[in-house]
Amino acid sequence: MDLDPGATLAELSESGEERIEFVAEWALKGKEREDNEYRLVDCSTGKVSADNFTKLLERYSPGSLRRLPEVTVSWFADPTDQQYYMALATHRRPDPPKTDAAGRQFYETNFFCLNYAEMASYRISYTSLYEGFERFQLPPEDNGIVATSGRRIPVFLTPGQRIDQWPPQAVAAAAWLLTNLNVCILGADHVPVEQRLEFIEQVASLLPYGMRSRLSASTWTMSTYRSHSIRLFFTSQPRNNPDDRVMTWAADTHLPPSQRSPGRSIHRYVKWLQAPGSIATLGGMAEPRGFDERDVMLVMAELGLTDAPGPIPREHQYHGQQPQSRPVEALLDDLGHRLRSRSLQSVSDIIGKLNEHAKRLELLVPHRQDYQRKISEHILLRANLPLTAGETQELYIALLRLAFLPIDYNSYLEVATSLGDRDGRIIHNALAEVMLGFTPEELRVQLLLRATRGKDAPAEYFLKHPQQPSKLITQLILDDQIETKHREFLQRVALAELARQARDGDHDEVHNALRSFGYLAVAFHGFYPKAREQRAVLTKVLTIAFGADPPDDAGHQILNNCAFAAITPALVVAAIEMNKTPDASQLAWDIIYKFATSELTEDSQYIVELLNKCRPAGMQDPKKNLPDAKGKGRGKGRGKGNGKGAGKVIRAIKYNFRGDNLIWTGIGILILAAFALIAYLIHAFLQVGS
């Protein structure tokens, strides 16, 4: 079908005649002639493994169905790529009928799963999926991913229609689902499967589209199959589950009580549904959402329906606006659709319009998050768009201007998220180059974006743009805002540059910078849970600071250069390893002396005098080498401030009562306990005797 290039999203949706291609991975559950048991007979050879298909078919099984066909919709999340999938299962008798090894007839389940983001970009309805896959014969000739087409039936009403034309029971069911209860519908045995599926469709349409990423529903479940995991289901008898809200078909329209949280918000929600355009708004809310209280409250907040609507930014509130009142979003939807269906005639016009909007809005960015959501839904910043290089670049520029400027670390993360990448590692080179064109100021963003050019790119950048060692340390290593997924890369780059500077430039400046930050020991203590990892990276830092051939008293220097609170166990080990002499008594003395002179110890002057009096022969007086810079670690919990808080005391105890000390303490406690026991026994004996 040729589309009018100027058509808005709503107009496209209204047509209802448009066909769309569904691409799905599939599985077939049933039996072969020699089987007794239902099993996974065949499945596609895509991303979803046979084992996972088996689990999904089991998780969303409606039990032993007696009447067929029936339909189940469900979902799952792929932890490997953080993608959600929607699934449709049709249960029907094979045509012609088949029997198993025991001569029993059986039914087959055809299971199709589709990428949620793709479905969300078209607001694909369950009805549409059912029409597309209802008669699809599995298995296909090859075991590849299947593609079929169906009518594109939008999930939301056209603006002229009103919610009060819908069955009130659908509204009640949607409201109960928002309380995180299952909804069980009885008394619909006589209702055709298509009508029950339509009801499920209506209920889902009364919720944000994003909840389809977590909704499971079935046109039938076996009443004695009580352990099923389906959230909205028809059945013949209730299963006596306290998490089920039981409703009778076409009769029960009771809403959740308003006294009960989140009942009050839900009543507001039901009232809000009556407003014109509410369903269209819900159709536009495609960010994946669950049914737990947190997600429901987020939905309420987005709609401005919470008890305290004040803090919600206006741009996050929908107020029942129509899509066409938001031209940029309509253009983004239109563009996404055209790129998907490869109807590319007017794409350059749309990109031009987007650029015009972007230039106008650049300073205002009134709906930045809404645009980001749209860009994410259609994955418009992806690589390999079916456009020329020039058009692609122009589109990237427009989208970045609309939703992501200025390019800083936060917007870098937002762009990565819009690409569906929670790891933030796959901002592709073409997009990274365009982002670099906006000249990001932050060093870490420059390096992350340049990483797409190759492994030598950071070093080349530093050659052209030399950086102070302290800046490298503070911006690339110590910054708490850096996401864990980027930390390793940035730290590696920073240490490589520090090593280069120490080797080719001013070694003392590098050493002083590292020393002033306590050799980063506290930071690494916070970043790395494993002592071995801490020691490995600390050894690298100390090698940079002291060179490949450290002085004989390197360990002594290390400990003396750090405040007591900045000395971590890993640093002690690293210091001992740096020491060329096997005798670690000087280091032990250093630590004791550090403790005595630290802020942890009251009346430290007196203790220092005592220590000096009993200082063993040959031990250096640490006072002569006290550091001029205290540890400036910024890691978790250590080295900050000068307080004498309980945390520091506990840490001091922890670090001082280790190993042998603990053993001796334990032995002491045992001896005391033994004495107490003996005393008790003597006491008891005397009492019995008297």
Binding site: R33, N36, R39, G63, S64, P97, K98, D100, A102
Partner: protein
């Protein structure tokens, strides 16, 4: 005093061993039992089976309806759970007291109300991991159900054992897992699992089973039985099991028997030779014709000829043999006298 208790019972067996059919035959078994009691002038000895909740009542009607319509239930998916209540009066023999002394026995009516919480799992769930079929969360669920159960009905299907030899696969793993779970929670009864176990040799109406019993000289005819159905005494049921083990395809059926006897207290294990549908009997006759007794027939009308599959159906009336007794045994309600058959 009313016998008024809840008894959770799980039914285990290989795929297609007839677990659902066995449970479906319970209502008919009770109905036939009551009929016989009335005909023997012991109308006071009667039982009724009802569903405890609406879902359980529905499955009771559904399964019974399928058997009376002479079709077998469809294969189970997952685990079906339902609660049936066995109510009524049973006549039990009790010592007659004369001047404080026991003098003979007398029949006494005992009001009965037994709730049977039944778990009917698909056969594949009890199979060992990696052997295919649905396994994952249902396995844990089944183990939980077994832990909560007072009794277990093991269905040993000799026909499947002839053809596939899967009994050991379906008993060994699940019993070991159950023992492991209960050991951790100190639910062991001495060195044994605490359940009552009814080992049912099913499909007694199949020619190969009947022939094996005949060849081992274990067949008897109950003189009290108005239809003269052949039977194997409960005391000989274990012997029949052992005879059948000799023709097991895998040769591991005897290991299944050993596993049951190793893990459960011997006095709590009882063997039954059962048939959920019983022997065919022409409506015009009062007694079974042993030259024409097969009650399962192939029904080519259910499938197109080109499919080549065989759809089985029930030929005539259903006369369950030893269906009520294993349930009562597993539930800890073994009666002194419920009649020899049900």
């Amino acid at each position: 005093m009313a016998d008024n208790t809840d008894s959770a019972i799980a039914v285990l067996g290989a795929s297609a061993s007839g677990k659902t059919t066995f449970l479906g035959a319970l209502y008919i078994a009770i109905s036939r039992h009551n009929q016989q009691m009335r005909e023997e002038g012991r109308a006071d000895d009667n039982l009724h089976l009802v569903g405890v909740d609406s879902a359980s009542n529905e499955i009771l009607k559904d399964l019974t309806g399928q058997l009376t319509a002479r079709t077998f239930p469809e294969p189970t998916v997952g685990i079906e759970e339902f609660s049936w209540q066995l109510r009524g009066d049973r006549m039990q023999l009790k010592p007659r007291q004369v001047f404080g002394m026991s003098v003979g026995k007398k029949r006494e009516k005992v009001p009965t109300k037994i709730t049977l919480n039944l778990a009917d799992p698909a056969g594949g769930i009890s199979k060992q991991p990696g052997a295919g079929g649905s396994y994952h969360q249902n396995r844990d669920f089944l183990l939980q159900k077994l832990k909560e159960s007072r009794g277990i009905v093991f269905l040993f299907d000799p026909i499947k054992e002839f053809d596939k030899g899967e009994t050991f696969d379906h008993t060994f793993g699940i019993i070991l897992d159950l023992a492991n779970e209960m050991l951790q929670s100190d639910d062991f009864d001495g060195n044994y699992l605490p359940h009552n176990v009814a080992v049912c040799i099913s499909k007694f109406d199949e020619p190969r089973v009947l022939q094996t019993a005949h060849d081992a000289d274990l067949l008897i005819t109950d003189t009290d039985d108005q239809h003269s159905f052949p039977r194997v005494s409960d005391d000989d049921a274990r012997e029949l099991y052992q005879q059948l083990c000799k023709v097991s395809l895998s040769g591991t059926a005897d290991l299944a028997l050993n596993t049951v006897e190793d893990y459960f207290r011997p006095e709590r294990i009882r063997y039954f030779v059962t048939s959920a549908i019983g022997f065919y009997m022409d409506r015009g006759r009062r007694q079974v014709d042993l030259s024409d007794y097969q009650n399962v027939i192939e029904d080519p009308s259910q499938l197109p000829a080109q499919q080549g599959g065989q759809s089985a159906r029930i030929r005539g009336q259903v006369h369950p043999i030893n269906v009520l007794e294993p349930i009562l045994w597993a539930g800890g309600h073994w009666p002194a006298n419920t009649g020899r058959r049900a």
